[in-house]
Structures are given as structure tokens and as C-alpha cells.
Symmetry: C2
Subunit: 388 residues, 2 copies
């Protein structure tokens, strides 16, 4: 590439390394190779039929114009009802903004809250876009290394240590990507107290809520109404391609988030909003529950299988559809390992590098977004690869 | 509102004033008043039937997963074909990135190009989000006042005068919102030359292309392949609510725009991308041509009617669906005037303030996004209102 004029932020914002791997995987598939995909960060399930049907009806009814920037009132109301029903938490629909995916919500949250040079504390490893959204608005991600001893999550002590004059707030994710771990209720309260005492903002990413296997996850909104909660129809509701999410904001931030949404997006996709009204129907929820159990079955297969192969997974991931595995016993370079595994064994996994820098070369993320049969085949191929 | 912690950019990013007017208009309608909408910035037409049908088929086929960040290859290919067919210009599909609306494209363009404090030269009046996107990434909009003598467009001379050490580039829109005017081919060449000589970037917004009434509009891509061209399926293709646009970038910027899209959006809505494949079918293009003629009919009705009422409209707007009228003969405060017009006459129009500061109080934007019958009723009501 010739030297071109571009903003400095573009030097810091990295592409997902897994995209390169994915491109290579597709090449191999085009050449006739069979590839086991354990790198894909979206449910393999198609959107449930009742939601598709609602989408078709919305199309037939000609729902093709813009909606208000914050979304259609019916959907905001439905989400409010969902918080009441699922979590027993009362949320004013006016606080719920419908966004183009959780990505849209993250852009609004960082845009509304972060000035040049402000720091947002977040866990390393973590979802890679988080630090890039922060960089995009000229703020900084303060990456705090986390390990199994804190459930790969930030603690109040981490927050205390990392806080400085530039800190504007803290971002948590529960369940987290890539580790699948939750923030415990007590720890969440302690972090919230600390952030509130400092006058900062707490953002909690709950996009994997609903996909939790060993306990009930409570929303951070149960603790306080001054927390920014980001969620999405992508993962639990299997609506990735529709690009629909939401954010619950503290009352005083409604006008700010709304005017920023007006300017940055105009509105979330209309059709997706109408289709999503079917998410809360008993029929849809039953399908989603069956799929949740299927994810659980996959986790319960893959976790011991990976451990048996020599991967060190000190904690049972309680949610999402990822297993974050220490691969030190088989390689000291997870990035090269993932490339070799693809080329030689036809198994695609995501290298730790995509989630941060802390012990990235010693970790791989396995996604169980494919059937138990395919996972079993993947495990077999890895076993043979390691035996060589 | 209590004093809350928010980023400084939020003090500078303004909501659209017309939104307040729209909210009030809806209140009045809920009370039983009939309101003529001449403020709406989207076609009144529902998306053409073949596109809706393609959307339904995509849903039935279960196209609900993420697409690549730059969009599905078939749509990028189809757009390349469209440039060839309509403009006789050859564009490598790899240079065409599918985005969530033109909004997504503007976010990518400003994000890739503008550093803190960089200036982007643009016309005042102009589309209000443009300066807000610039502000969002901590750059600055250099608003250059334009008048009828330059067709409400920037000239090479304007650009020369406005250029300084902070200038990173120029943003043009053709046809422009709110004025409906085009940038002439010679002027465009001269501006491009000037920007290229300075090592800056030229961004051209062509989202109203296709809605041009007195001539054929040529794409800026015919002049050079180092121009960033932003376009959308919203206006000409009547797909506003689907949130789908695109950007053609210079070859060297493909990886930068792609990695930023990965991080900021993941991808544009899948369903919209598949539905949009039907945009280029002869049947769809025939429907769009009929609608273009309908817009022309409306313009040709509204323009003389507004002039007769005393509004000064020195130029015939050649494209889009707006008439930007000087209202000095009837008011020296277009903002209050638009409020009174709504309350007393039941006609909604957009005050100049939404498009900048240059002579904003002396201008109103009339959108002809409603039928000739409704426009005629609106004109009648304004006539009576002015006679009081």
C-alpha cells in the first residue's frame, strides 16, 4: 500500500485477526476442504420462525420508512415488560433506546461519555471492539489484566488500582467474551459503589444475557438506575444479521443519547424493530429455551474434551458460547498455532491476540456455535494434530 | 435536567430542531388536527414491490446471519454494474463498501480521514449531520457560507480561501440538502484539482443521485478514483427504513475502511442487502422512474406556487425533493415562523437553523415528499396564514 493520508486513530485500531483466518478458511473450503468452525461469534441457528414471520408481515404491511431515532414505542414498551417479567426490574420505556446492534449502543455510550484522553477501565482479555470504540472517540481504554483468580472479571480492587485523574468510568461485560464468565452480584455492587463515589460512569455489556447455564443472571439495572446497560437481539434472540440492539440509559442522559442517535444513525432498521416484537411471544421464548439447552449441551461436551486434550481451563464458563483455554501445554504462540491448526487439521479457532495483550499468546477461544457432532469431529482433529 | 457528566462534544452536537416541530405536529394530529407535512426528509413512497418481495424471499431463505463487514459480494458487484450502466464508469467492486445507511459511510469517512482539530470544509447551508460527524471524531467543520450566486455550492475559490494548515479535505453534496442544487462538472473538477494539489481528501455525497429533473447528473467518480463517494439506498430507491448505503473509496483506503467497519458496525443489515439486489431489476427501475417523474411534477407545482406567495427562490432546484426558500418578505425569524405556521395553519416546514447559521433566520426548507393535492392544500393554508 502507498503511504496515504489517514487519521492517527487508524494506526491503533486493529482488524480482527480472526478475519484473516476466516478468509483463509473460506479459501480452503472453496478448494474442497472441510473446515470445523469453532471461531464464529454468532449462533449457528437461524432467527426463530415467529420472528421471521413477523418480519414478513411487517414487509407486507409496507413498514419501510424511518422510525423515531430511539425506536418504535411498541418495542421500547415490550423491552420494559421483558425487564419486569424476566428480572423483576421496573424500567421506564423512555430510558430504553433501540440501536443498530450493540455496536450502535457502544458508539452512543462512548460518544456521550468520553472526552479526548479520558480513560475507560476494562478487562483484558475482552471484546476487542470495546477498546476500539474508545479509541475512535479519542479516549483511551485502560486495559486491566485479569486472570482466573477473579473469574476473568474486574474487581473493585482492580478498579481502585486503575483509577486515575483521567478515568471517566468502567466497562464490564457479563457474561464476558471471550471467557464466558459472569460478574458476581456482590462484586458488581462493590464496583458500582466505587465508580459512583468517584463520579464516574459504569457501562455493563449484557449482550450474552439469556445464554447462561448454571444460574440465573441478574441485570445490573437491579442494582442502580444510574448504570448504562447495553444489550442486543443478536445472541440470545439469534438476530445477528438484523443489526438490532438497545441501551438503557440513566434518565438524565436520554436527551443526549437521543440526539446523538439522530445524528449518527437516524434510527435502527425499521423492519428489524417490527420483527423483534415477536421476540417476547411464548412460542419464540420456547424456541430460545430449547436452543439455550442445546448450547449448554455443547459446552458440557466441549469443556471436558478440551481439558482432556491438555488445555487448561480453570473455570467453568457460565454463559455466552465461548471457552477461553490456556494452551501453554501445547504451544507458546497461540497465533501461529491457530494458523497451523487451520492449515493442517482444518479447525478454525480464535487466537488470544484478538482479545487483548494479557497472556494472549497462551490462549485460544473456542466457540461452540456448531453442533455437538461437528465439535466432536473438531476435537478428534485437534487430538490427532497434537499427537503428531 | 441535573448537571450530568458528559463529553464536551455533546455541548456542540445539536438535535434537529425539526424533531421538536415533528413531535408537536404529532401531538396536534393526535388531537384531531390535519397537518400538511412539508418537513419530512424521506420519500412518502413505500419501498417498491420487487424489493419488498426480494426481502420476503431472503427471510424465507433464512438469511439472518452476519455478512462480511464490507457487504455481500453480489451487492458490491451489482453496484459496480450500476455505475457502468448508468454513468459509464468502471468501479472495482472491491472499492465499494456496503454501509448501514449513508450515515454509516459518513462515520467511516470522517473516522478514517480526520484527526483531532482537523478541518473539513463544507457548505453552509448543508446537511446538519455532516458537521456533527466531524465534531464527533473531534475534528472541525469549516462552514463556508454559500448563496444563490454559486448555486448554494462551494466553488474552487471558496475552497482556496477557506484552506488552512488544519484543513484535511472538502465535503460536497450534489444534489444538496436543503437546496436541491448540483455541483457543476467544471466546478467539481476545479475543486478536485485544488484539493488534490493540497494533498487533502474530497468527499462527495451523492445520496440524492437519481432524483434529478433537468439534466443528467454525473458521479464524481467519473473525474477521479481518489474521491470518496457516499451514496444510499434511502432516497432514490425508497429504502430509508432499511438503513442501507454505500461508499466508494480510493483503492488504498479499502483496508482502513474495512477494519473500521468491522469495529463500528460489524456489517450492514443482512436482509436489506439481499433485498437491495432487486433494486437494479428493470421492473424496479421502471417504478423508480415513475416516482422520479412524480417528484418532478410536485416540484414544478410547488416552486411557482411558493414564489407567488412571496418567497424568494432565485434558483430552480434541480434535484432531491427540497426547495430552499428565502422568507425575508414575510418574516425575519424563520424559526418562530415555522412554529406559528404549524400551530395556526397546520403546515410543517423546516427552519433554516437546521442547516447551518448563514442567513438561517431568513430561510425555510419545503420538502415535496407528499402528493400534489396535499402540497396544494399546504400552499392554500400558507396563503391564508400570510394574509392575516
Amino acid at each position: 500500500m502507498n503511504k496515504i493520508r489517514s487519521a492517527k486513530r487508524m494506526d491503533d485500531i486493529q482488524p480482527f485477526h480472526v478475519m484473516e483466518l476466516l478468509t483463509r478458511a473460506r479459501q480452503l473450503e472453496a478448494e474442497g476442504r472441510d473446515i470445523i468452525h469453532m471461531e464464529v461469534g454468532e449462533p449457528d441457528f437461524t432467527t426463530p420462525e415467529p420472528i421471521i414471520q413477523a418480519g414478513i408481515e411487517a414487509l407486507q404491511a409496507g413498514k419501510t420508512h424511518y422510525t423515531p431515532a430511539a425506536g418504535i414505542p411498541e418495542l421500547r414498551q415490550a423491552l420494559s415488560g421483558f425487564y419486569q417479567q424476566r428480572y423483576g426490574v421496573k424500567i421506564d420505556p423512555a430510558r430504553i433506546l433501540i440501536t443498530p446492534g450493540a455496536s450502535g449502543a457502544l458508539l452512543l455510550a462512548t460518544g456521550v461519555l468520553l472526552d479526548i484522553g479520558d480513560e475507560l477501565i476494562m478487562a483484558d482479555p475482552g471484546y476487542p471492539c470495546n477498546r476500539n470504540f474508545t479509541r475512535f472517540v479519542e479516549a483511551r481504554a485502560r486495559m486491566v489484566p485479569v486472570d482466573a483468580d477473579s473469574g476473568y472479571q474486574l474487581t473493585a480492587e482492580h478498579v481502585k488500582q486503575a483509577w486515575n485523574a483521567q478515568t471517566a468510568g468502567v466497562l464490564l461485560a457479563s457474561p464476558a467474551n471471550p471467557t464466558g464468565t459472569l460478574v458476581g452480584a456482590e462484586q458488581l455492587k462493590a464496583i458500582h459503589q466505587q465508580v459512583a463515589a468517584k463520579g464516574g460512569s459504569l457501562i455493563v455489556d449484557e449482550i450474552y444475557h439469556g445464554l447462561v447455564y448454571d444460574s440465573e443472571a441478574q441485570t445490573a439495572l437491579a442494582i442502580s438506575d444510574d448504570i448504562f446497560v447495553i444489550n442486543s437481539f443478536s445472541k440470545y434472540f439469534n438476530m445477528t444479521g438484523w443489526r438490532l440492539g438497545w441501551m438503557v440509559v440513566p434518565q438524565a442522559y436520554i436527551p443526549l443519547a437521543d440526539k446523538l442517535a439522530q445524528n449518527l444513525f437516524l434510527a435502527a432498521p425499521t423492519l428489524a424493530q417490527h420483527a423483534a416484537l415477536a421476540c417476547f411471544e411464548p412460542e419464540t421464548l420456547a424456541i430460545l429455551e430449547a436452543r439455550r439447552l442445546e448450547f449448554q449441551k455443547r459446552r458440557d461436551f466441549l469443556l471436558p474434551a478440551l481439558r482432556e486434550l491438555g488445555f487448561d481451563i480453570p473455570l467453568t464458563p457460565e454463559g455466552a458460547f465461548y471457552i477461553y483455554a490456556n494452551c501453554e501445554s501445547v504451544t507458546d504462540d497461540s497465533f501461529s498455532f491457530s494458523q497451523e491448526l487451520l492449515e493442517e487439521a482444518g479447525v478454525a479457532v480464535t487466537p488470544g491476540l484478538d482479545f487483548g495483550h494479557h497472556r494472549a499468546a497462551q490462549h485460544l477461544r473456542f466457540a461452540y456455535t456448531t453442533s455437538v457432532e461437528r465439535l466432536a469431529e473438531g476435537v478428534e482433529r485437534i487430538r490427532k494434530f497434537l499427537e503428531k
